[in-house]
């Protein structure tokens, strides 16, 4: 067994990272020294009272009983392995195999796979056509009624992605929740790209469940996530074991029994501050989008004006270069990398997404200039030249 490749595995990072998966998950430099003290396996269990959620040291009990519910606008909250694990727990607890769930057409694959794992039938909503791909309350109404027509019953659950991970579209959750509730359907809010980036209140939005992602948007070392719900749904979702009265069945007793749980808490004061700057983040995203279009680099798809840092672009120009470039589509990835920029998937040119979250205006300018320089370098490959 040759183990050389396992030795000294080190991550190389670039000056600027615009990967939507990663812009909201960078941990604050200041937490690192503390985090290192929690690296050992089961480090959080030194003072185990029988359940992770009862821990006073580190203060997980305080975090889930007081801080998270207030932050998420919910009655009860837990720490999970991530948004997808939270969604699966909800679906498994609140529905039975063979039940139906309505999911928006822009949903993350993990919502679909979670529903599949829970044995649910999936009814996807429609969405408005290219280039916006909006999800509306009407789409939910139609999808719910289709399930009712086909099965005689409303779906067991609905899920909305807020925002979705492709276009960064922010659907009107309040109206969607109201539509769902008219039909007696509880609504799951997948806020993996919202909680920790911007203010989000499950209660104000009218949803029945909320999931967030620590590693995606709460500046935490993952995998770790958050899960919240109402008192009404908590009883079933957090039901205790028949055999071990202190252990919650859907949480398998304890969830994040290690450093990521501490990371979520250590980063929390920073996260609570940064969400106050959300309007500025949206302004930056809009400015970036307008520059990409104004400079003729690419066209932004999805909602306009945009309301989130996650942006989807379509570029016929970059795609045209890729056709004749000796690196094919990889010229863009390498061109950006050479300029200290990472986060656009290797090979992509015609369609790509990126995030402006947490980047300074000068950094965003640097990204725009990098695109312009790369196009300039390759202008001989453009037919229009």
């Amino acid at each position: 067994m040759n183990l050389d490749k396992l030795r000294n595995i080190t991550r190389e990072t670039h000056e600027i990272n615009i990967d939507p998966l990663q812009t909201g998950g960078r941990i604050p430099e200041a937490t690192k020294a503390n985090l290192v003290t929690w690296l050992d396996g089961y480090s959080v269990c030194d003072f185990c009272p029988g359940s992770l959620f009862g821990l006073k040291t580190p203060p997980i009990k305080l975090f889930i009983e007081e801080i998270l519910p207030e932050f998420l606008g919910c009655d009860q909250a837990r720490i999970t392995h991530g948004a997808r694990e939270g969604k699966y727990a909800i679906m498994h607890a609140a529905a039975r195999p063979g039940d139906w769930i309505v999911i928006d057409a822009n949903a993350h694959y993990s919502s679909i796979v979670a529903a599949e794992r829970a044995g649910l039938n999936i009814k996807k909503t429609e969405r408005t056509p290219e280039p916006e791909y909006l999800i509306t309350p009407e789409h939910y109404k139609n999808a719910i009624e289709e399930v009712e027509d086909e099965t005689g019953n409303p779906p067991a659950l609905a899920l909305v992605t807020y925002p979705d991970g492709n276009y960064g579209n922010m659907p009107n959750v309040k109206k969607i929740a109201s539509e769902c509730h008219k039909h007696g359907v509880p609504l799951i809010l997948n806020a993996a790209y919202a909680v920790g980036r911007m203010p989000v209140s499950m209660r104000e939005l009218g949803a029945d469940f909320i999931v967030g992602s620590g590693h995606k948007s709460m500046a935490a070392s993952g995998p770790v996530g958050v899960l919240g719900t109402t008192e009404e749904h908590a009883e079933n979702l957090f039901r205790k074991s028949r055999y071990y009265p202190i252990k919650e069945v859907e949480m398998l007793g304890c969830t994040v029994r290690g450093m990521p749980a501490v990371s979520l808490m250590l980063s929390f004061p920073y996260v609570q501050e940064r969400i106050k700057r959300w309007e500025e983040e949206v302004e930056n995203a809009r400015w970036f989008s307008s520059m990409m279009e104004k400079e003729g680099i690419a066209e932004q798809y999805g909602e306009k004006p945009h309301n989130h840092d996650l942006l989807f672009f379509v570029s016929e120009k970059l795609y045209e270069i890729a056709q004749d470039h000796k690196k094919r589509g990889f010229f863009l990835y390498h061109g950006l990398k050479k300029r200290g920029i990472s986060g656009i998937k290797p090979g992509l040119t015609r369609q790509f997404k990126l995030s402006t979250y947490g980047l300074k205006k000068e950094e965003l300018e640097k990204v725009i200039n990098a695109f312009l320089e790369i196009i300039e370098e390759n202008k001989s490959l453009l037919n229009s030249q």
Copy 2:
């Protein structure tokens, strides 16, 4: 919202830790510098090919396709959030709600809760009486036949804990597997306290599934675990999504999308070396047990001679002191802590477990001496004095 308690959360450790949960999960000092480069959320996804298990950088594909199967003695392996999440995935994939599972009487609570989450009926085996509490092949035979008698069918699954987390007993898995297979019952090996401490081969032991724990026994920063199975069972356990052909349903697409996955790999060369010293570890445990008994501190329950570092003790003497001590049962915890020793749960005196894993002989002597000093200090509280 007062966030003061979330600031500067730091773990305080003691010189010697004998908590069975923690002795096998300490990460090698040498990996820390590398680990810190992976702290950011979704750090492992820089070069995502669409699935965690296909990653070449960091080398997760190599690890799960070549290294882990050889190490575990299985055909296919995956990285999971931990042993319990692996057990649940197996039970959810290989059985249907209402099916039966036979589980040993010494099983960890998470095996029971995983079965409960999967909607399974649980038949516990018997065990031999106090003080040994052994699990035998005969116990499995009886439990399986009881299920057959009661339901007309064999159970869908069986699970054996190797060793269990209370007594550190090592059942004869080969014979248990053979008993299960006679009845057509696939066997899950819960090796959370074995894989990473000692050589374990699923194939040699004849089990159909194996789970291990990175944070418990593989010197990894958790939560993280391993899961292995045969080609026969892999097809169903690792089945792909109907909607996303690259995503595995029971893994929810990707499992440990963060630093713990890297920790498992970085520690692996160290783990592979240390398991070669297993006989020495067993010798140390036996020596420690004999000293506890010889010095009249406590009696060891469970298998004798013992075959694992996890030891369960019963001490009437310490319990007697607790009756009249002003700190009640907490005198032991505080007395050990004062001497730089942690890992016995606060308050326990009559029955407690500990682990000698990875401790040097001098450290074990120090623990024995600490017990003796604590008894000596409190001898006026012993009736027999």
